[in-house]
Symmetry: C2
Subunit: 206 residues, 2 copies
Amino acid sequence: MNFSSKLIEEAVNEFSKLPGVGKRTALRFVLHLMKQDAAEVNKFGGAFIKLRNELRYCEKCHNVSDKPICEVCANPHRDASVICVVEDIRDVMAIENTQQYRGVYHVLGGIISPMDGIGPSDLNIETLVQKASAGEIKEVIMALSTTMEGDTTNFYIYKRLKESNVTVSTIARGISIGDELEYADEVTLGRSIVNRTLYENSLSFK
Amino acid sequence: MNFSSKLIEEAVNEFSKLPGVGKRTALRFVLHLMKQDAAEVNKFGGAFIKLRNELRYCEKCHNVSDKPICEVCANPHRDASVICVVEDIRDVMAIENTQQYRGVYHVLGGIISPMDGIGPSDLNIETLVQKASAGEIKEVIMALSTTMEGDTTNFYIYKRLKESNVTVSTIARGISIGDELEYADEVTLGRSIVNRTLYENSLSFK
């Protein structure tokens, strides 16, 4: 594309670095910004600079937080002996939204992926092992995705936690509520039969 | 959505002001930015602030430009007596990409749209009328969209230019090259018959 201004070209290039944003969408964003008040645009650009420069992570669980200890870890009503291991903060948000989990989290900041050059040392795994060997934890719930990378990470953490006296569990895999059996893939359907639950435990009301 | 940090919430809110971006996409953008170097993110946010504060418009055609007169208007090989009237800079880019047009442009900065509270005085129409009455122009080519708002704007400008001795034309409407007749809408097909061109003029090679 041939831009009549270097400033526009620069702004379009910056926007198109975002995931899933091409040059055309980026130009649409730029034209939108050009029509806004200068104060609005200053706030827009400033929000990201502020985010990157001021963002802090919880010292305990590595979740994003404005304070040294995040709200979940600081909450005395949460069970600190149960830790749910997740990939990033989106997973924390998703689980928090269910309002079913009363333990705390441990955010890895990614998963082991040799293809992308991400090894165990790039992730927050050591602090999890330390917590476990300090004897503070009863159970670690693995809530990673069921990709090759997720399984590798699961297995690596399982091996590292073996010495500590910690139960390692994974979230249940099965047929989604509302899904039809005939459209389910075999692996999921197979797992849902092997890992069946007692009928009285499956009721959401008790 | 329940964010663990005010900074993230703010950044998500800013991104979701962009056209077609919802909270989920905005969060994806924010997580992407969080993983970048601080210098990268400063450049990202700064590009938009710089764009809004430093952007200038061509004094002649209102196209976006880094200099007081844009490249098209400053080019002595372009025919300044033919003016193509367009809605915004995207249209200029689209026409420039065809490499078929040797005249200059006039960017309105929008179209008349009473529903959105945009009247003729909000657009760059006066300067076009002045150029026409100064006798500098032979032809004005209207290249606005064929919506109700586009037609209204066409008609308003046509009326304003009537006193000056200027030919007002519109770009040709017809069946797109490569399209099949049976799928064309009636209005377009009807217009393409009424406004038919001589066969020898329709050849792209001459």
